[in-house]
Symmetry: C2
Subunit: 212 residues, 2 copies
DNA sequence: TATTATTTTGGTCGAACGACCAAGGCAATT
DNA sequence: AATTGCCTTGGTCGTTCGACCAAAATAATA
């Protein structure tokens, strides 16, 4: 009667987490439906049968892994906003963190995979919606009073960051100074006019676009 | 010896396009790897064997369908920018079109699926990168001279729109007036101060977030 | 140490998949 | 009307999948 609704011992917890970690690494590489019990087990260095002992189904494993990752990926960088001296430089730090984060590994695409999979799974959708709502609320709270429309600014900010993750996965553009300046303008923050490095009113000179 | 490198007759073209359309409709519903030859054939009202006559493999079918859709979805709305009296109202029209477009069906998620699938398929990646580059170039061209940094503004604009598509698939937020105003500010367009409908400097009153 | 509960193993089952093909049906051309 | 390709059919092949299970191994408890 294996039904580990709550795993008891420590070793079981460890293998459970190894499976979760393996799934987390595999989702962005193979795609949501490309992740199978056997692949997860192989990646984790375990036997395939283990998966169904620790998780009722593959979807349960994927859902739990995706939700855990998404929550940490959304709420994790928020401390950058708090640690910065002011809101503007906090946003800049956020964008720079995104820059380093996206290039590192393609793990960030896990979140996008989860968004899409949420279209087909009610439980996943609830969790993702909750995580996103939490992110927006947190950002809005930090924006309130300093920008014109904190509500939709927070929503837009989230959309931009995810959109950048998505677009950068296929056309690696360095998003740093100019991006941050644009985002600051977007949310209506009185950007300190001194440190805007984008020289304005200049025609696009080169046309390096579809780079390898 | 069936090798329709170039289909000849009209009927063959029709079935080919029926298969492409079926694949286009199915990708956002079942996910990229969830689309099978049999499902496509069933959706199109045809026999499963047909798929491999008109397309070398399933991936070829999916790739062609995704690229065709992506190209039209990216370049299609561009005429809104040209038809509008000025750039600002063109952007507004673009956002409103997105609003109507996303709610209509979930077809817009096809593009996101294609972005992710491009991670695993070199040919698809090339096509998607080219389509995205074309979109950015077209937008940049229309922005040049009117905004500070047309280059990254165009890239940002594309990212925002795709990010909105993605986020709206899970938390249906009406993106209209406030969104457009934010985007105009972002790209640095001197928004006609008269028609900014978002009342500034107001604290967020209600907290409707994770709506059904 | 003896006992009990938990964890792991190795394998089976039916179902669905992509790919493939030979035969038959069809339409445009001669 | 005959012929010549293009189009369609229905089916098979080997593979891989999720799910499941009885039994062995292991760790915790008494």
């Amino acid at each position: 009667m294996g039904m580990p609704v709550e795993t008891a011992t420590q070793r079981g917890q460890q293998t459970r987490e190894r499976l979760l970690r393996a799934a987390t690494e595999l989702i962005p590489v193979l795609g949501w439906s490309g992740v199978t019990t056997r692949k997860v087990a192989e990646r984790a260095g375990l036997r395939p049968g283990l998966v169904h002992y620790h998780f009722p189904s593959v979807d349960d494993l994927l859902t739990e892994a995706a939700l855990a990752f998404t929550r940490s990926a959304l709420t994790g960088p928020l401390h950058l906003l708090d640690d910065a001296p002011d809101l503007a430089s906090g946003i800049v730090a956020l964008v720079e963190a995104l820059d380093a984060y996206t290039g590192q590994d393609e793990a960030s695409l896990l979140m996008v995979e989860a968004y899409l999979a949420a279209t087909r799974d009610a439980r996943l959708r609830e969790g993702m919606a909750a995580a996103l709502a939490e992110f927006r609320a947190a950002v809005r709270e930090r924006l309130a009073g300093q920008v014109p429309d904190a509500d939709s600014a927070a929503a837009l900010l989230g959309a931009v960051l995810d959109g950048l993750i998505l677009h950068r996965s296929l056309a690696p553009m360095p998003t740093t100074a100019a991006t941050a300046a644009h985002l600051l303008r977007m949310i209506g923050l009185p950007t300190a006019a001194a440190e805007d490095p984008a020289s304005p009113d200049e025609e696009p000179s080169s046309m390096r676009e579809g780079e390898s």
